[in-house]
Symmetry: C2
Subunit: 456 residues, 2 copies
Amino acid sequence: MSGHRAADVAVIGAGLAGLTAARELTRSGHSVVVLEANERVGGRTVNVEVAPGVVADGGGQWVGPGQDHILALIDELGLATFDTHIHGRHVYLRDGRRKLFTGPIPPMSRAAFADFAQAQLRLERMARSVPVDRPWAAKRARRWDGTTFGRWIDVNTLTREARRLLTLCFTIVNGEDPHSTSLLLMLSRIASAGGIGHLIEVTGGAQETRVAGGTQLIALTIAERLGDRVVLGSPVTEVVRDGDGALVRSHRAEVRARHVIVAMAPADADRIRFTPELPVRRAALQRKWHNGTESKLFAVYDRPFWRDQGLSGMALTDLPVAGFVIDNSPPDGSLGILLTFVGTAGAGYGLTWSDEILDDPEARRAAFVADLTTIFGPRAAHPVDLLEKDWAHEPWISGCVAARAPGLTTQYTTALTDPVGRVHWASAETATRNEGYMDGAVSEGKRVAQRIAREL
Amino acid sequence: MSGHRAADVAVIGAGLAGLTAARELTRSGHSVVVLEANERVGGRTVNVEVAPGVVADGGGQWVGPGQDHILALIDELGLATFDTHIHGRHVYLRDGRRKLFTGPIPPMSRAAFADFAQAQLRLERMARSVPVDRPWAAKRARRWDGTTFGRWIDVNTLTREARRLLTLCFTIVNGEDPHSTSLLLMLSRIASAGGIGHLIEVTGGAQETRVAGGTQLIALTIAERLGDRVVLGSPVTEVVRDGDGALVRSHRAEVRARHVIVAMAPADADRIRFTPELPVRRAALQRKWHNGTESKLFAVYDRPFWRDQGLSGMALTDLPVAGFVIDNSPPDGSLGILLTFVGTAGAGYGLTWSDEILDDPEARRAAFVADLTTIFGPRAAHPVDLLEKDWAHEPWISGCVAARAPGLTTQYTTALTDPVGRVHWASAETATRNEGYMDGAVSEGKRVAQRIAREL
């Protein structure tokens, strides 16, 4: 496992981008070593064991139409998918009033519905002027990158209800408060997805499909086939470049390689010392980058009891913790799992995650169960288990979802993707289509592998 | 130097905040160990040796009226100060036209002057409603924290000239493009400084005074008196908290302490593993924090020749590299040094630092000399030396100037300063007065030391 090795390509990071690149290169006959800091593969996909044989997705969870790269990979690996459970009526709870609904549109007031629709229409119209492969080239790029999506929502919605719903939806999608996210970046994602509906909807949208056995199974399956090409528990400390390639120093192995793929989010790449130093724009970009740090909370029940009541398990509410709830049960319904997202986002913007809920896991879990009981009735008061996957404290992964602060896109442009000599960058963040999604990570792993294969 | 130690207080970081705290605690009879990752003290103050006995300030450089903590410390340590050289006429160069002026206001067009004045007036009026110790409590805090200062400038100035000048001034002050800086944070700084003039002016402002021998001499003098209480080259990897205090593990020493002071910028604190984990809000804040990464470029001449021409050495221009130039010579004028700031900020916003200038040190230096020649004449074409202090590549300091992205202030509020048990936070960033300045670091070192002394 350890010691000195030589390979055509050293891959840093055994998430979906790194493993996809390693798989592609191996298939085309090149030698590869994958160095992973954690003691597991999968990066931001991780299976949380709920019961023997039952897993919940702790990180990246859904795939949907238009995500051709990840769907093809799942198929090639022989993994099974299933539809996200969305049958039945959803709960819309606001100001203490609980309404049931079907379809993608919650029963807002008429004014809020019109308001939501006009905001959506305007955002989609603005998004049409953003070239997804070069968002900084949009005519209004500087203007839109100089402000936040949250500020746009505040200024351009008229009703509290629509404003709150938009904020909630995109807090979940972005893994952070829209008041920290560049408006330009958001428009670029809307453009890439072909509209807001695709981003926030389940059926026909990016949340349509799940992977049987959990999404980490994708990485586990690839890694198993790569065998001892994957070195775990081996954080890379240094990459020394020269004319022939680079020497990659890690905890358990030193790899001499002709090309290097850094398959991590930009902020995580900053943990590596490069010799010679990275260009200023790349170095600064890594230091200014952050990802979203939201957590996932799971309430586990002996069965998905809400289905008996004709409920889907999906809910949109104004409750303290469970603002958005979705059925996260395994495909056979052998256990019932309800999922919500919780984090630092939204404080002060109408979402009401308090310091107590954020800082005290016990208080957070109690509040979650209380909310679920309000939504789904007394049966929800007695989960058999409560689990949490926290993305704010991972030692080697500084956040889960791809976020982006104002200014970054227009100031750093191609520094995100430009190779530095024979060092290449690939992660969900470098993708122009489905940026931040598992599909983006897979397409980037392929793109970089193909580029290197041409040069080897 | 190394091994196991016990102390009342372990201080992590030997910058101004950490050393001030260690000095205060030692003076009040408490035992202290200071653990510093670098092989030098000073943090973001560092002397760049220009010639034997001649230094330039590579980091924090100026002090001014209202910065009582740092001024008192300099005095107590017996260090000398001198006035920033500003005598003579300054150069204002725009669209190829070079004008000379005196006083703080460059000879803008009348329209630009009126425009600058109205923007300044409005910003100062807005700033008056921001409580500097709790900026998130301002009535319009959410609105202002949801957008950038750069966007405000773009919308609220009418002339290209005023817009560019405001952008340039605050790019220098903030160490990053205003399109990445929260408007609320900027208003809070304006409120703390008592106005924009104080922030950007030399005489009577925050750039009025320098330290003879360089600002790092402050840290060097304190550290010398602390003796072997300071352990260099000893990055802290872990802080394990318990009821009695904490065990602080570092490369060269393991310290058992009753209190811990983390005297680093929030982003740098994220390099340490805490057990038990930090509260979610604090952990997320650290991961979302970034500092400005601008560099300082120095052109060294055998003497300050511009003074012969009656020039101060200060210039405001629209040239590619030298947008702002100031005389940075030693107090005796034995050498002439001209300083500019260069970095990733400003790209695409009328400032024209190109990729080539940013990524190629040779091209950057050549462009700098070309600009200086345009400003100060042919004599400037032949510097005896060109030096650079780069803040984008420091291994243990992830940026120099305190910046702040939109959303951070209102979402994380007191997580920046709230102690976690017996772990306390002190740096230029935690200060409410003179945040981001050396004075803020010193006042925070004192504040935390006094608090701990009361508890010991």
